[in-house]
């Protein structure tokens, strides 16, 4: 009963949160603010996809950006080479998702039979490979310089783009939450907590791990497609290590294994990035904003060791735990009495 009540309260808070985000363009319609909020929604999807790996399956990836990059380049190239219609955009998202699913399946099958750090290393190698491919295949990608491309006219409106990103973020959150709460998701949690015990229960863990990487890869690809839509430009930075590190930090700062934490993590990092860059106008020290960025990470990790959402959740569980402990003590007393009787 208390679990159901907690879930109901969580749903109400989530609805309020989404309603608040949906109301933002009507409160502040400045272009830069809308761009920032759109980026937050997009990176939240990317961070949630990383959380499926790290938080729900215990897999570390150093090359998660490759799926982001695949989505980005697929949409960029298709909108550039075909036509800038909604149909092409949707088709490009689908193609990106399928390519990412295929690649994540291959990488997963090659490495996840071994220890998880092989997956980390292999993803790093594959993302490096795709980066080189994007640099060298100039006829398609224009190398490091990248290329601009047209987008569907309806998406040129920043408000429409923001609402699209918001809708995608909400839908992805609900889908991924459904996934993590499904029987497969529960097995993934069991794998994260104790791989050998899960295997002893008769589960072939490599299949579940590969499934998780495919889901994460597909979600990352969608965020990549949306990302280049906001820029109307794509270059090789989408395959950069920075992208993966950002997803990792967003997930850790928000709270690993919480999904919602990824949204909070993305918001904090994008706001900090934007805010610190803006401060450079007032004082030259903020031109070295990356130093302050590092300090921010340290402060957040010190204050919230399990991430912001994770620490709040632990605090809540501790509060509940105290009550449970009292009831546990009562139960244990009853057992002792029963034994003595």
């Amino acid at each position: 009963m208390s679990g159901m009540r907690t879930s109901k309260i969580g749903t109400i808070w989530f609805v309020i949160f989404v309603a608040g985000l949906a109301a933002l363009p009507f409160i502040n319609d400045s272009r830069s603010f809308l761009i920032l909020m759109t980026q937050i929604c997009i990176f939240a999807v990317f961070a949630m996809s990383y959380d499926i790996l790290l938080g729900f399956t215990g897999i570390v990836s150093f090359g998660h950006c490759m799926f982001f990059g695949i989505g980005a380049y697929t949409s960029g190239v298709m909108l550039d080479r075909l036509d800038a219609s909604i149909g092409t955009l949707l088709l490009s998202v689908l193609v990106g998702v399928l390519l990412s699913a295929l690649l994540s399946y291959i990488v997963g099958m090659l490495s996840l039979r071994l220890k998880s750090h092989f997956y980390a290393m292999l993803t790093l190698a594959f993302s490096g490979l795709l980066l080189v491919l994007a640099e060298k295949w100039r006829s398609l990608t224009n190398g490091n310089d990248g290329f601009t491309f047209p987008i569907p006219s309806v998406m040129k409106d920043r408000t429409v783009l923001y609402f699209t990103a918001l809708a995608v973020m909400v839908v992805m959150f609900l889908l991924l939450r459904r996934f993590t709460q499904s029987p497969v998701g529960r097995v993934l949690l069991a794998i994260r907590e104790n791989e050998q015990r899960t295997e002893s229960l008769g589960y072939e863990i490599v299949h579940y791990k590969v499934f998780a990487t495919v889901v994460a890869g597909m979600a990352a690809s969608i965020s990549g497609s949306l990302y280049v839509l906001t820029l109307r430009f794509v270059n090789t930075t989408v395959f950069g290590m920075d992208m993966t590190l950002n997803a990792l930090l967003m997930t850790i700062i928000g709270g690993v294994g919480t999904l919602f934490g990824a949204i909070i993590g993305a918001s904090i990092i994008e706001w900090a990035h934007h805010g610190l860059s803006e401060l450079a106008k007032f004082h030259p020290i903020f031109e070295r904003w990356i130093i302050f960025f590092g300090l921010l990470y340290i402060v957040v990790v010190l204050l919230f060791p399990a991430g912001i959402v994770g620490t709040l959740r632990l605090w809540w569980l501790k509060r509940r735990g105290r009550r449970l402990e009292q009831s546990l003590q009562a139960d244990s007393n009853a057992i002792r009495k029963e034994g003595a009787g």
Partner: protein
């Protein structure tokens, strides 16, 4: 007809030669107990049967089929349930979620086994929605045993269920294992000789990775010299 036959298995962990030719068998419907001091190789024997520590030599047959080369999940699906020494619970999952993961099938037979085990351990029913990490030590052990039992496993490997538990809880668990005997066969690793001798039929005594003595439990109860030599108890 034996249910499990272990013949001359040798297991290495890193550079250490832990099992040095272990041979024993488990008869259906009995509780077979592996006894021995710390470091004798009891846990490694169970882990080798489950494929968690692969054997480098020897044979393991379950219901007449060789299993030593199979991966752990396939050994489990052959009908062997495993309760590890550290219980291996999933702290973030509730009791209900753990049991649902453990139930590979959702048929009437599995549901009936679940019902039976919940009657055996009413605490699990009571704390169905509680995170496993918040359970007491005894309740965690109940959960670990139930998780292994709920599928139609013909053999349960149970590693030191009494470890770290209060005597009253040990008593409860031993009674429960005894009741399970009617439905499944048990291979039990136990250091608590008093408890093991009460419920065990057959024993194998291990020392330095080998079986050094075997027989019916009643015989060991009479054999003070062997008990003193290998278990350090009179």
């Amino acid at each position: 007809m034996t249910l499990l036959q272990v013949r001359g298995i040798e297991t290495h962990i890193g550079q250490y030669h832990i099992l040095q030719g272990v041979t024993f068998e488990v008869v259906p419907g009995e509780i077979t107990v592996l006894l021995g001091r710390n470091g004798a190789g009891k846990t490694t024997t169970l882990r080798s049967i489950m494929g968690l520590n692969p054997v480098s030599k020897g044979e393991i047959s379950f219901q007449g089929e060789r299993v030593e080369a199979l991966p752990t999940h396939r050994i489990s699906r052959q009908g062997i349930g495993y309760v590890p020494e550290d219980q291996g619970i999933f702290p973030d999952l509730t009791v209900g979620e753990t049991m649902r993961i453990a139930m590979r099938l959702n048929d009437d037979h599995t549901k009936a086994r679940l019902e039976w085990v919940l009657e055996l351990f009413p605490d699990l029913h009571k704390f169905w929605g509680r995170k496993s990490g918040l359970l007491s030590g005894g309740q965690k052990q109940m959960l670990a045993i139930s998780r292994a039992y709920v599928n139609d496993n013909r053999l349960l490997l149970i590693d030191e269920p009494s470890k770290g538990l209060a005597p009253i809880m040990v008593e409860k668990l031993m009674l429960a294992i005894e009741q399970m005997k009617a439905k499944t066969t048990v291979l039990l690793v136990e250091q608590n000789f008093m408890m093991a001798s009460r419920i065990g039929h057959r024993y194998y005594l291990m020392d330095e990775g080998r079986i050094v003595s075997e027989g019916m439990m009643a015989e060991l109860q009479q054999d003070e010299a062997t008990r003193r030599k290998y278990l350090g108890i009179a």
